[in-house]
Symmetry: C2
Subunit: 194 residues, 2 copies
């Protein structure tokens, strides 16, 4: 359970966490299990958790005035998921996060997170690297949105996150790319044809 998180931190920091440091990390997290369709975050509530995905798959999405869902993020094993804006400022979130598959998470709260960053240098480092990676990926995704055609978006997804394509149903992938399921189906056919 916690071992998965430990290995993850070792990997992204390219180091090995000392046992005495990992104790703090263990104490800051608790296990949370979600069945498919259960929620980690409901819109209009304050985001309580920052979650590390041990097993399973989740999605983060908003719902527009016409009731349509727009998926803004996915998370699978070894990913983090939360609404940082809401968590940090303790204001209601515009997003929902729910489980696409039965999932096991390690969750922590804002307070514990703040303490943890002071207690564990490894964790601080990891958080920093995470921020960087996140910001780089976000930059690329913004660019994709204003630059790419439907087919290019799909190809980009195949290149950047092939796991997602195996893992999530096509209508969700379509939403994530900002396409309709119909267009997604046609584009996929096109791309696979060559």
């Amino acid at each position: 359970m916690f071992d998965k998180l430990r290995k993850y931190i070792d990997r992204v920091t390219s180091a090995v966490i000392p046992d005495e440091e990992f104790v703090f990390i263990e104490k800051a997290f608790e296990v949370k299990r979600l069945r498919k369709r259960q929620f980690l975050l409901h819109q209009d509530t304050v985001c309580r958790y920052m979650a590390f995905v041990v097993t399973g798959a989740l999605r983060q999405y908003s719902i527009d005035e016409d009731g349509f869902e727009h998926i803004v993020n996915f998370a699978i094993e070894d990913w983090w998921i939360s609404d940082r804006g809401s968590l940090l400022s303790q204001t209601p979130s515009r997003y929902n996060i729910d489980a696409v598959e039965d999932s096991v998470l390690l969750v922590t709260t804002l307070d514990k997170l703040n303490v943890l960053r002071e207690q564990s240098l490894s964790f601080l480092k990891m958080a920093h690297i995470l921020d960087q990676n996140h910001s780089i990926a976000a930059q690329k995704r913004i660019e994709a949105g204003i630059t790419m055609t439907a087919e290019e978006k799909y190809r980009y997804l195949m290149a950047a996150n092939p796991e997602f394509i195996q893992r999530f149903p096509q209508n969700m992938l379509a939403s994530y790319l900002g396409l309709t399921p119909e267009t997604m189906s046609r584009v996929r056919k096109q791309v696979l044809a060559r």
Copy 2:
């Protein structure tokens, strides 16, 4: 010159930097002046600087295979600009950054940045807050890209960054929103009509 940066850090951290700490910050930065059209970063080169804009205006953009520019970021007074991905990993950038107006910057390098984060707690805090804000804004922009119509994008820009509309020519704003200048012009007319 440096006073602008000092006030900025005080403001975002909601605190006052002690003099002895600000000395480190002053030492880590140097002044760089750019005339309109001069570059801070050329694509295919490694990004050297993280820059704080004292006065002026800059843009960050990529150029696609057909030679079209796509603006991914603007920066004006009190904004930071850099290609973090390139700076951090010391790999060639896909972006250009140039001055849209004559500009005065305070620039620092990766090495100095790393030292600075250890020397100044205020700076570390600021960097952290910056990361958060950046990641929240990026999330929203991604959502905007997959959710909004042309008119909604323009309205969103008016709401989120009204300074940009005064400051940058319309064709650049169009590129930033992922629209053609023609569509931009029509949408603007629409919006201003009411």
